[in-house]
């Protein structure tokens, strides 16, 4: 299971979703969906609002039950895994929730150290140093460590949440709308940050986003969700060449042209 920096081995998907169906009441949100995420790539996941992007993310990490289908992460089928295997998978992924989901009663330092303390027995000195290093990686100064989440701005919350998601040096990170609510400069910095971290830590990134800039600058591959299925997956160029009406509208609309022109 030794895993080091991303060496291009395309035949090894880190997430393997097969024929997954998720139903809320009478509405099928996901309907026989297949998706592969390759090791070391940044996958941008787009689709109309309410198409079920967050639902798929939450299904993969096990927060939403599915009716049928199978999901493998790191080659482990999460339905068949016992509690120990599940924990070892959970230790290897990090999740950035849309609102940050920082624990409001803990300081930034305690938030970042929380998962580390749970899994590793480290000295307080090393914990503190690693915390500062993680904060520096997401572009925050050490002083932030002793603030409470309620004292942070929106962009800082996302950065701290990312630092917490990265606390255990995961191999896979889920980002749910990481740039929503950030100003364009902040969003651009965040995209750059994700790219840098992917390069230095060899991360695989699964990013749900609406941000065309993010898709352009950060993502290696784009998957599009529609009618409960993946309607297209490929590079930015392939997306733009697609004849699908929603894709045409999305990638050739006014906003897309503005982004491309910039």
């Amino acid at each position: 299971m030794a895993k080091s920096m991303p060496k291009k081995k395309p035949a090894e998907p880190i997430i393997r979703v097969r024929d997954v169906t998720v139903q809320f009441g009478a509405t099928k949100v996901l309907d026989g969906l297949d998706l592969d995420v390759q090791r070391g790539e940044i996958l941008g996941f787009v689709g109309p609002s309410g198409a079920g992007k967050s639902v798929l993310t939450r299904t993969i990490i096990g927060l939403v039950p599915k009716i049928s289908g199978s999901i493998e992460v790191f080659g482990v089928d999460l339905d068949k895994a016992n509690a120990r295997e599940r924990r070892s998978v959970e230790r290897r992924w990090g999740i950035l929730f849309q609102q940050g989901a920082l624990f409001s009663s803990l300081t930034v330092r305690q938030n970042i150290q929380f998962p580390v303390r749970e899994y590793l027995k480290l000295s307080q000195r090393l914990l503190d140093e690693i915390t500062i290093a993680k904060l520096a990686m997401v572009g925050l100064r050490p002083e932030v460590a002793d603030r409470m989440p309620s004292e942070l701005s929106g962009g800082m919350i996302k950065r701290v949440a990312l630092a917490r998601a990265l606390a255990l040096d995961p191999e896979l990170v889920f980002l749910d709308e990481p740039t929503s609510g950030l100003d364009p400069i902040g969003a651009g910095e965040f995209d750059e940050l994700v790219r840098t971290l992917q390069r230095t830590l060899g991360l695989t990134v699964f990013m749900v986003t609406h941000d065309l800039d993010s898709l352009h600058t950060a993502c290696d591959r784009i998957a599009v969700l529609g009618d409960g299925k993946i309607i297209a997956a490929g590079s930015m160029g392939e997306m733009k060449a697609s004849r699908h009406p929603w894709l045409r509208q999305y990638f050739h609309g006014k906003r897309a042209r503005a982004v491309a022109g910039a």
Binding site: A2, S4, Y119, I130, I132, A136, M137, S150, L201
Partner: protein, 376 residues
């Protein structure tokens, strides 16, 4: 899992090299930290380089420990070179290198600092509370004067809604509790007075105690716990979600819209609940006096009529709206003081109940002094 990580000293000619090998990753971090500490302790002297060519895996934890080793071996501005760094890991090591050496959290040599700081904060906090209470009372006064000039702007619907919540729905619990307390006081009185053959004086005690003190105090404490906390939680969660800011930007005064209806509802509710509570307590006391003490209802009523005057009743009822005012003002001040987090909401709700009960009892004490001096 592959073999454990190692850190060995190897002499290469004159120079000394620290050779790191194996997986330098998070699961091995405690062992790695020990090895690095040992190397730091024995290090220094001679030229030293750090050779990482045998490291099979590296993550932030390992990279940081190598960086820590490098920093502690830095001697007179000469950094030990790191050899054998693969391109893939170089960016990670460089990333960690940019981290400023974190200053240890500043701990004062004075042990007493934390408790002293806590005492100081509490004192300042108490001062702030008093200032906020005065400010809220002022805002309520201004709002009341405005209402007197424009009575039609009063929010009747909202007030009626709150009246239902704090008065109508509170009736069962208030009546039950005061009834039970009335029973208990009467039972204790009879039990102890009987030793002196003074059973019948229990009626005097019950009447005076319930009318003057117990009725209004019990009701005020229950209302503080039941409705004051609800007010704080409602206003606090509105504050958290910027609803109060939204109101303000639309040209509404939160005092008019949110505080006044709640305050008026409580001003009406507490006297009514006090009245009901007093009746229930007297009823419970009378019942116990009859069934346990053998005082017939006729005799109880006769004795009660002789022993209490309308003054006792008035004293209790005068206190009731003042208690309502105290509870409402404290609850609204605490609600408005809530900051962004859910924890803050919980803290202020707790302190709303604690403070309003405290102030209710302080007010009761003041009233006792005033009524004693005017002979009521």
């Amino acid at each position: 899992m592959d073999s454990n990580p190692t850190l060995e000293k190897v002499a290469k000619g004159n120079a000394l090299a620290l050779c790191a090998a194996g997986p330098w990753t998070a699961p091995f971090a405690p062992a790695l930290e020990r090895m690095v500490a040992e190397a730091e302790a024995s290090g220094g002297g001679g030229t030293i380089s750090i050779d990482v060519s045998q490291v099979s895996r590296l993550d932030t934890f390992g990279a940081w420990l190598i960086e820590r080793l490098r920093r502690s071996l830095t001697n007179g501005g000469v950094e030990p070179p790191i050899a054998g760094l693969s391109a893939a890991y170089a960016s990670l090591v460089n990333e960690v290198r940019r981290v400023q050496s974190s200053d240890a959290p500043t701990t004062s040599p004075l042990r007493l600092r934390a408790p002293l700081e806590q005492i100081g904060r509490s004192v300042v906090g108490f001062g702030d509370t008093l200032v906020n209470l005065v400010a809220m009372t002022g805002a309520v006064t201004v709002s009341t004067l405005r209402l007197l000039r424009h009575p039609l702007s009063f929010r009747l619907t909202s007030t009626v809604h709150h009246l239902e919540q704090v008065c109508w729905r509170a009736v069962p619990i208030v009546v039950l509790i005061t009834f039970l307390i009335g029973c208990i006081v009467a039972q204790q009185g009879i039990f102890h007075f009987r030793k002196f053959g003074a059973d019948v004086f229990v009626v005097d005690m019950l009447g005076v105690l319930v009318l003057r003190e117990l009725g209004v105090l019990l009701v005020a404490i229950m209302v503080a716990g039941r409705s004051g906390s609800a007010y704080t939680a409602e206003l606090g969660s509105m504050k958290m979600r910027e609803e109060i800011d939204a109101l303000r930007t639309m040209g509404f005064d939160p005092t008019d819209v949110l505080v006044m209806p709640r305050l008026v509802a409580l001003l009406l509710a507490v006297p009514m609940l006090t009245f009901l509570g007093v009746i229930a307590a007297l009823y419970g006391g009378g019942l116990v006096a009859w069934l346990y003490g053998g005082v017939e209802p006729d005799a109880f009523l006769m004795r009660l009529r002789d022993s209490i005057s309308i003054d006792h009743f008035i004293v209790g009822m005068i206190k009731a709206p003042v208690m309502a005012l105290v509870i409402a003002v404290v609850a609204c001040v605490e609600g408005m003081a809530v900051q962004g987090s859910a924890e803050s909401l919980g803290r202020h709700t707790t302190s709303s109940v604690v403070k309003s009960i405290f102030f209710v009892i302080v007010m009761d004490g003041l009233f006792a002094i005033i009524f004693a001096s005017i002979g009521m």
